[in-house]
């Protein structure tokens, strides 16, 4: 439920802004000059705000398409990300966005046309080559789809750009926007999973594993290419059993032959983000666990991290060919 919508005064008449206002007729509208006035002040507490985030409608004037961090990719040579949104409907304890932003408000950049122009320019810098564009870096690609209508705009645009590969990354079941369009060869819809027990404890408001699998199945039947993201892999005393059960559940539902990619990565966070997360959730067991800091990153102690990834890789090998599997070792 959105009770307050902050709108940059220059966007008052923007068609997407008008449409969103019509959707939330009882929301209080607050005008600001630039979204940073609301989003960036120091005296904000992400955790307190997360109980009732507002929506900020803004224009992104620059830096719309960014080089993806090394190791983020799933094959191919050129990787970029673009963020039409900052922050997310869900509330995952490990989410690095809490360390990155002071505010939990959802920022929606409504100048989609400018994003698309930059995507075309970036693509043109690699003539004849495939270029990946990731949309779920600073948000969940689909969770706020009924408001953002991201798919309605971007998918038809990408349809005309066969060398531009788009990855939507999500934990949501908002697939209606995709299902009403024909499946596209250059779009991968990637769903992230942790075992149900872990998800229930750490991924607040995220649909259950089975609900997400049901959404994936609908997409797979409609011909969409799907990705699986087991990232972050989370430790618990019985993680082996938890991940064994998760993989069994996932691959009992989906047709492996139609999967685009599977990636896996252990829990890791830049040290500064980790410190912020501990400050926000000092009693969270995940952050009290067997972690170490090295080279500015916090991750599981070396032997444990390796053991977990090796175990999951071996288990996955029972279901998928090696060529589908990509390690994720990028730093957020």
């Amino acid at each position: 439920m959105i009770d307050h919508i902050y709108i940059e005064s220059g966007l008052r008449e923007h068609p997407r802004v008008v449409e969103i206002k019509q959707r939330y007729t009882s929301a209080t509208i607050v005008e600001c000059d630039r979204y940073g006035e609301v989003f960036n002040p120091k005296a904000q507490n992400f955790r307190l705000q997360k109980s009732r985030p507002a929506l900020i409608l803004a224009d992104k004037p620059r830096g719309r398409v960014q080089q993806a961090p090394a190791g983020y990719g799933i094959g191919g040579d050129h990787h970029y990300y673009f963020s039409h949104m900052l922050n997310c409907l869900y509330d995952c304890r490990y989410c690095f966005l809490q360390g990155m932003y002071r505010s939990a408000h959802y920022v929606l950049f409504v100048n989609y046309e400018d994003f698309m122009r930059d995507i075309r320019t970036t693509l043109a810098a690699h003539p004849g080559e495939d270029v990946w564009f990731y949309s779920g870096y600073d948000c969940d690609s689909l969770a706020l789809e009924p408001v953002s209508r991201f798919c309605d705009y971007f998918l038809p645009e990408f349809a005309g750009l066969p060398h531009a590969k788009l990855e939507l990354r999500t934990k949501s079941t908002q697939v209606r926007g995709l299902l009403k369009q024909p499946a596209m060869d250059n779009v991968v819809v990637a769903f992230s999973f942790t075992p149900q027990e872990v998800s229930a404890a750490l991924e607040h408001k995220v649909p259950s594993v089975q609900k997400r699998l049901d959404a994936m199945l609908q997409l797979q039947r409609a011909g969409w290419q799907l990705g699986l993201r087991f990232d972050p892999v989370i430790y618990s005393d019985n993680f082996k059993q938890q991940y064994r059960e998760l993989f069994a559940q996932v691959f009992a539902t989906l047709d492996v032959a139609l999967l685009h990619s599977v990636s896996i990565g252990a829990f890791r966070l830049p040290k500064q983000f980790f410190k912020t997360l501990v400050r926000l959730h000092p009693h969270e067991a995940l952050f009290a666990g067997p972690l170490r800091e090295e080279g500015g990153m916090v991750s599981y102690q070396q032997s444990l991290g390796t053991e977990m990834i090796d175990f999951c890789t071996e288990e996955l090998a029972r279901y998928i060919p090696q060529a589908l599997l990509f390690p994720c070792d990028y730093a957020a």
């Binding site: 607050v30 600001c32 002040p41 005296a43 955790r47 307190l48 009290a288």
Partner: protein, 270 residues
């Protein structure tokens, strides 16, 4: 309950003092302060400097971060009817052109509005918003001590284009605030509950004081000690959690090493 109320004038304060049954504290204090059960009220006087000074003074008395703060007062408005009360979601400082946006996280169904903090009494009411003389200075000051979600303003319309400010007197202010006491009570309760959540999130580990008084830790070591004790409490919750056995330790370094060992023993290796 823990909340600080900042009010410009005594007639505005009186209904709050009476409703929350507050008693005057320290009659030699430079500003009138009233208190009971975690609710403190200060009467600042009119204007930005007075509001900032009173807010700073109240913080200095308590030295507690993340307390709830509420500025209550009557104010002019460009169009709302006399007696209407609102939380404030945008504060503009007329002189500097600066804006603040107090995050609206209270789920109370209390409407909110924008406010312009001016340095002289407003008689033109050019915009459909509140006009006051304290909120910007109060908010900017209180946000040095608490997160913005915990710093709120509640304003009640005392004058508007058809009821000029000259007709407002002590009686009007007292009556108008008294009539909004139900909403104010809800805001005070919800805001102090939110502050309790923020403060509780940083409860100190039980064994911290004992360790600090027995061994001498550097500042960095104190931080390490704090987190190690906290991790032990999380990983081995009561009743299994007993005070860590550190009696044999000769130094702070030995304490930290022992705690590290104790924490690592709690993980089942795969």
């Amino acid at each position: 309950m823990s909340i600080n109320l900042v009010v410009a004038l005594m007639p505005e304060a009186k209904p709050l003092i009476s409703h929350f049954d507050l008693a005057a504290v320290n009659t030699r204090s430079p500003l009138p302060v009233f208190q009971r059960d975690g609710i403190r009220l200060i009467v600042s006087g009119i204007g930005a400097a007075a509001a900032a000074a009173a807010t700073g003074y109240l913080f200095a008395q308590q030295q507690q971060r993340d307390l709830a703060w509420l500025n209550v007062g009557v104010a002019g408005h460009g169009c709302l009817a006399i007696g209407e009360g609102r939380l404030i979601h945008k504060i503009s400082e007329h002189n500097s052109g600066r804006n603040w946006f107090p995050p609206q996280t209270l789920k109370l169904g209390v409407a909110s509005d924008a406010l312009n903090s001016v340095s002289r009494i407003e008689r033109r009411y050019a915009q459909p918003q509140f006009y006051d003389m304290e909120a910007a200075a109060y908010y900017a000051t209180a946000c040095r001590f608490s997160s913005g979600e915990l710093v709120q303003c509640f304003k009640i319309v005392s004058d508007n284009p058809s009821h000029p400010v000259d007709a407002v007197n002590a009686d009007t202010a007292r009556t108008l605030i008294g009539a909004q006491m139900k909403s104010l009570d809800r805001v005070v309760t919800a805001l102090s509950a939110l502050s309790d959540t923020a403060i509780k999130a940083v409860t100190e580990p039980a064994a911290l004081d004992a360790c600090l008084s027995r061994w001498s830790f550097t500042v960095t070591q104190q931080n390490q000690l704090y987190r190690l004790l906290q991790r032990l409490e999380i990983l081995e919750p009561a009743p299994a959690n007993k005070a860590p056995d550190l009696g044999h330790c000769q130094s702070a370094t030995a304490v930290l090493a022992a705690l590290n060992r104790q924490v690592n023993q709690l993980f089942v290796q795969p």
